[in-house]
Amino acid sequence: MERTPKAEEAETLETEKPQPKKRTSSRKPGTKSTAKGLSKPEMSMPFVERLLDRHSDFDFEEEARRHPTLLIRRTLRSGQRVRFYGNVVVLGDVNPGAEITAGGDIIVMGWLRGLAHAGSEGDGNAIVAAFRLNPTQLRIGEIIGRAPDHGEAVLPEVPEVAEVRDGRLVIDRWQKSVLTAQDLL
């Protein structure tokens, strides 16, 4: 997980199990906005309808049901663990010693310093994104990456995304990732 000063280039994680995974689902990005519809469908209806006007071929209600999202409005501290079958969004930091395991994507709106495992059911298309991505260990699907041993690593200064490309864990700037590669909403 070495970061070059030039963040233009994609960086490669040390992969311990470099197995390319095939696409296991037809997940489409940009669908998390309707996750609240799970608990309060009637309140999110106008929002969903407006989106449907622009993307008439996509059923957000169905997507929200298939990929629910857990929102954690706190910092996860050492020893605290979250396991969820859908996506996990943390509004806070994930400190060293904390663990998140998600069936889908993981997004941390703060420092990710602990362990994150996205796509824990074997989804190699899952991503881990953080405002500051500096995990002790990252796992996506069946691929594991860890922080470099020597403390020479450069601390991140911009939001970054980790994803699997060609069987390797890659950390790249937010703008370069799969999140923005396709035309979204």
Binding site: T75, R77, S78, D93, R113
Partner: protein, 266 residues
């Protein structure tokens, strides 16, 4: 009605007992009525650090089990009229007391004292739960080491789970010269991870070893830097707005920022 403060850390050997003894003595010196509880049942230390070991007749477990009355178990300090110690039992273990019993005991003591300081044992098990049960407020002690910060973080999480919110941090044993050289974690780094309010910074001081062995809190020695830091912490606990001590000319940068943080609080 007083305030019960638990002094905890998770990791052992970072200075919980020393901190408890010194803050207690500092508060007593400032005229507060103070009781110290040694909650480290089976590994009692606070009495030794206070130099009161030879006066123990009854202990915390005796009181909780109704074997002795609280006023008989409390040991009056040698130096201060208004400082008392409730020692731990040495021959029992943590399971001898329940959190509920501790809650009642601390509530009873809060009637008599302005401050009840609870010295928490290391670890996160029963002993920690007992120590925390009756407290109104928590102070987390951490040294500038990665392992200590990690354990402090865990403890803060557990305190939140016990509904003890907004703990405060004491950074113990900092060496300004090492921080300056970049060989020691600096306080900013610690606060960034732990994200709690800073109560005080105690510099590494050889006199602490001497004072611990003699059973005289460093707070009483005006020449000791650590003693001065503990006096400041005691004053902050009574609500005074005391600026952070300047540790070294070279460290003005981060100390300046610390002062800003304390200013926000005051």
């Amino acid at each position: 009605m007083g305030e019960a403060i638990v002094i905890t850390s998770g990791k052992g050997g970072v200075g919980k007992t020393t901190t408890t003894a010194n803050i207690g003595a500092g508060l007593a010196k400032a005229g507060q009525r103070v009781a110290l509880i040694d909650a480290d049942i089976g590994l009692r230390n606070l009495d030794v650090v206070m130099g009161l070991e030879n006066r123990i007749v009854y202990d915390l477990v005796d009181v909780v089990e109704g074997f002795a009355k609280l006023k008989h178990a409390l040991i009056k300090d040698k130096r201060f009229e208004n400082l008392y110690l409730l020692p731990a039992a040495q021959t029992r273990d943590k399971t001898a007391v329940s959190p509920e019993q501790m809650k009642n005991l601390v509530a009873e003591m809060k009637q008599e004292f302005d401050f009840v300081l609870i010295d928490c044992p290391a670890g996160i098990e029963q002993g920690f739960k007992n120590a925390v049960a009756g407290s109104d407020k928590a102070v987390v002690v951490a040294t500038p080491e990665v392992s200590s910060v990690r354990d402090a973080d865990r403890i803060i999480g557990l305190l939140e789970a016990e509904e003890k919110h907004h703990p405060q941090l004491i950074v113990n044993r900092i060496r300004p010269s090492m921080v300056k050289k970049g060989d020691m974690m600096d306080i900013d780094d610690m606060i960034e991870i732990l994200a709690i309010e800073l109560l005080g910074v105690v510099p590494d001081d050889e006199f602490i070893v001497v004072s611990t062995n003699r059973g005289e809190p460093a707070v009483l020695n005006t020449a000791s830097k650590a003693g001065e830091a503990y006096r400041d912490i005691a004053r902050r606990l009574t609500g005074e707005n005391v600026p952070m001590m300047k540790l070294d000319d070279g460290t003005e940068g981060f100390i300046g920022r610390l002062r800003k943080m304390m200013g926000l609080k005051g």
